[in-house]
Amino acid sequence: MERSLFGFIIRYSKRDQLLIVPLVLASMVVYFLSLDLPKTIINQAIQGKSFPNPGSTATFLSIHFSLPAFLGGRPVSLFEGFELERLPYLLALTMALLGTIVFNGWLKFQINTMKGWMGERMLRRLRYALFDRVLRMPLPRFRRMKSAEIASMIRDEVEPLGGFVGESFVTPLLLGGQALTALFFILYQNAALGTMALGMVTVQTVLIPRLRRRLLVLAKERQIAGRQLAGRIAECVDGVVEIHAHDTSNFERADIAARLGKQFNIRFEFYQRKFLVKFLNNFLSQVTPFLFYLIGGYLVIVGKLNLGALVAVIAAYKDLPSPVKELIDWDQQRLDVQIKYAQVVEQFTDEDLAAPETQALIERPQLPQGGRIVASNLSLVDESGARAVDGISFEAGLDEHVAIVGPHACGAGELAQLLARLVTPSGGTIEIGGIDITRAPEAVTGRAIGYVGSSSYLFPRSVRENLVYALKHRPVTEAAYQGDAQREHAFQMREAVRTGTSLLDVNAEWVDYAAAGVSGPSEMEARIVEVLRVVDLDETIFELGLRSNADAARSGELAEPALSAREAMRERLGSLGIQDWVERFDPARFNRNATLAENLLFGTPIGKTFDIENLAKNGYVRRVLQETGLLGDVLRTGHKLAETMVELFSGLPPGHEFFERFSFIRHEDLPNVKAILARAADVGLQGLDEPARNELLGLPFKLISARHRLDLIDEAFEVRILEARRYFAAHLPPEMKGAVELFDPARYNNAASLQDNILFGKVVTGRAEATARIGALLRQILDELGLRPLVLRIGIDYQVGVGGARLSAADRQKVAIARALLKRPAVLILDQATALLDPASQQRIVSRILEYRKSQSVLWVLTQAGMAERFGRVLVLDRGRLIEHGAFDELKCAGGVLHTLLKSD
């Protein structure tokens, strides 16, 4: 990458820059004309110098001028022109002036547009190049760089560079040309005035940049402080658990406040200087016209200068300071972005950057087919200079299972990363199936080797996307475009070529099904389920499928099976004589195992509109209650409920877990509720103010008759709620139709989970183990109807959240292992990949994976030496050295390190 900004600009935008030059030159000529025309208008047309008699004519558009004296002063004539009378002559001249103005505007418009394009193209190229470098940086580098700082550099810090690229050559040319034209024009009119203007400009151009030097230092400080602030904020977000756990929020506040203070200081000084410079600059440019009026006026009076020339000089001078000022600004900007560029590029420069060929796209790389893993004299010197891996040599067949064990910090993790070629060895070689892995491109290592570390990263997408991620090495099938999309794609490709960015199409099919050993998406489902079973995740995914809301796009596929399962469930409950274990949603009946809210809405809320917490305040719900005469009932119920809660929970200390588990009122709200009750005792329920009534109205919606047994909803109340339910559905305003999906025995409910759709009701409270037995029954029915794959499919669509946070840490590891298994690597390297799991699951997963990878290579860094028993070969490491190597049975009783490790397990 070019070390200097101008090197970068010249190398990649030379052609574009040169294309603008003719336009700039043309604009100079037009600009000169626009200065010269007013003089002619005043002197010739208005003052009538060319028209001594009423009938005389003047020549318009005759192009002739005298060469300057140093060129011989010979008159040159290019066009004879038209003869015009005085008024038409004035008209023609002013029209010509208008023409030059319009033409000049058009030229500027063209130049600006081209500059904009050029800048954006260069910015695109630069950002892409920086990102490309991030992908090629060696892993240890990331221990020193914060992700937020990298993002801040690529996104924000290079932004001004894009603007500058367009300005880099054109602006000095344009502005310099303009200034020179104006200066030349003034000099041409009058040498004295010209010298004066030149003197002022010289002062400006020498003095101002000097004053601005300190500004550059400040700008650099500001850039670094800004980047560090972004890094610190990201740190706080990543470490938020530690902040809460150790009560350090105020320390972090202080730190950020101090940083903001530092930024303020930098900016304060920056602004002070900036505005001082601005003041000086303005003063210098405005003092000149004063001199012009004084001296120029004197010259006109004494007859050494004509009035038209003075007006033109003043007009020309009006245009002089601004190009000069902008030129100075440009110079300032140049220094500023040069510093920024150097700063950023320095961060992305690394001698150990992987060569681009390492990550080149290879359609069908030669992958190891059988053979052996041969590590010879491997060593790795870490950043502190210690030998983390020290001269390790071993051989193992590609059909063997190898366990790597050792005491803490024995170098096994580093060895695993070396074998996976995630770090480059400081010395030694690794061959897998005859291929030198230390030199092979990632197209080979990334496909032949599956590596899973102890805490793997999941992308915030679905489980499926995370699994097939390992198969996206190259676009397998090009995307098909038609019509506008095709034109757009062609345009994007042309631009990509121009800016040196990747030509690969992100919309193509990247998933390499063949690499997973399947023919296409449908077979892939089966493969995914297979690997999920190996890592013991299929039940979890099944549960997720049952309990999460399926993607609305799947509803078409789901509706029919879900409804048949609903029917089957109903029949099964009946045939087992336990139909009363589930209270189904019946439009004509009150459901005593559902909340009052569910009974009223008789549907699943979507979004916040009809959320149980917001119901009392919802205008439409209030109207429904009012119209059906239920408002009084609900208010009275809320009042009784409040009394009961106050009676039950007043004696408990704040923060007692019962509030969370049983109370309708939070402890901190108790005093308020008590006050409301006291007021209600005085003035009656109707006398309460709106907030108090809202508070009481909000309480009963969570009431479940059967569970809470408070006897607050009698049969007459139930009947009125049914009326309100009908009213609610019948009068639902169109804009709220999307906020609730009503229960319908004959329809699939998109807003509810599959489980809720099948049960279509509530498991009754008070039946011992009813939930567990109904759950088992549900699974049995799904199996009988052959719906298990469908449920799994929904589960595989489950969104794992940022960093996989919606899955448990153990499940994240399982997904990561499944991802590595899916691509069928020649070598599977597991670096303490199951350390987060409990011992029993670890045992189970180790057995399953070894069984699944029978006669295929597995290298496993184990945390428990005892598990090495299941492996054909054991490597025992200590302090970076391989100290024992052989079969488990030979090593375990030899009295060596493995023996000691086994005892301490």
Binding site: T644, E647, L648, F649, S650, G651, L652, E657, F658, R661, F662, H708, R709, L710, D711, T765, G766, R767, A768, E769
Partner: protein, 151 residues
């Protein structure tokens, strides 16, 4: 049955009879009403304990397995009896298996609630000790009988 009726019932039970009425109500409110079918097992010996049960209606049978694989009935409990309190206060696994002999209605009192009640009410604690002492005497007598029979 409503909460009020359950409170009435709780008052009949010696452990809970003398505690504060608001506490009695909270005890019922925070507990689950559970119905077991005849033959349904409430808990097995060795399970970890998270709750005790008050029998509202029906009969429960407590059994312990012998080494020979048989089950000795150690107790039969009816209305107003408390089941499963030993494991809660002893922090040990269930000492016996509880099975519903008839259709059995119970109030399931969570461990932390019961501990709270005992901690706050000395009368309830004494009553609890009385029950446990009685159980111990019962079991000792049973063991003596069994011992003399097998000898």
């Amino acid at each position: 049955m409503t909460l009020e009726q359950e409170v009435e019932l709780i008052r009949q039970i010696p452990i809970f009879s003398k505690i504060d009425p608001a506490m009695q109500k909270l005890l019922c409110f925070s507990s689950d009403r559970l119905t077991y079918e005849p033959g349904q097992v409430m808990f097995h010996v060795g399970d970890t304990a998270d709750a005790a049960y008050v029998v509202i209606d029906g009969i429960a049978e407590m059994t312990v397995p012998t080494t020979a694989g048989e089950h000795i009935v150690v107790n039969t409990l009816g209305r107003n009896a408390v089941i499963g309190e030993i494991a809660i206060f002893g922090s040990v696994p269930r000492t016996a298996t509880a099975t519903a002999k008839t259709r059995l209605e119970t109030l399931r009192i969570a461990k932390d609630m019961l501990v709270e009640v005992i901690r706050k009410n000395p009368d309830a604690a004494i009553e609890m000790i009385r029950i446990l002492a009685e159980r111990l005497a019962n079991t000792t007598a049973l063991l003596q009988r069994e011992g003399s029979r097998t000898r």
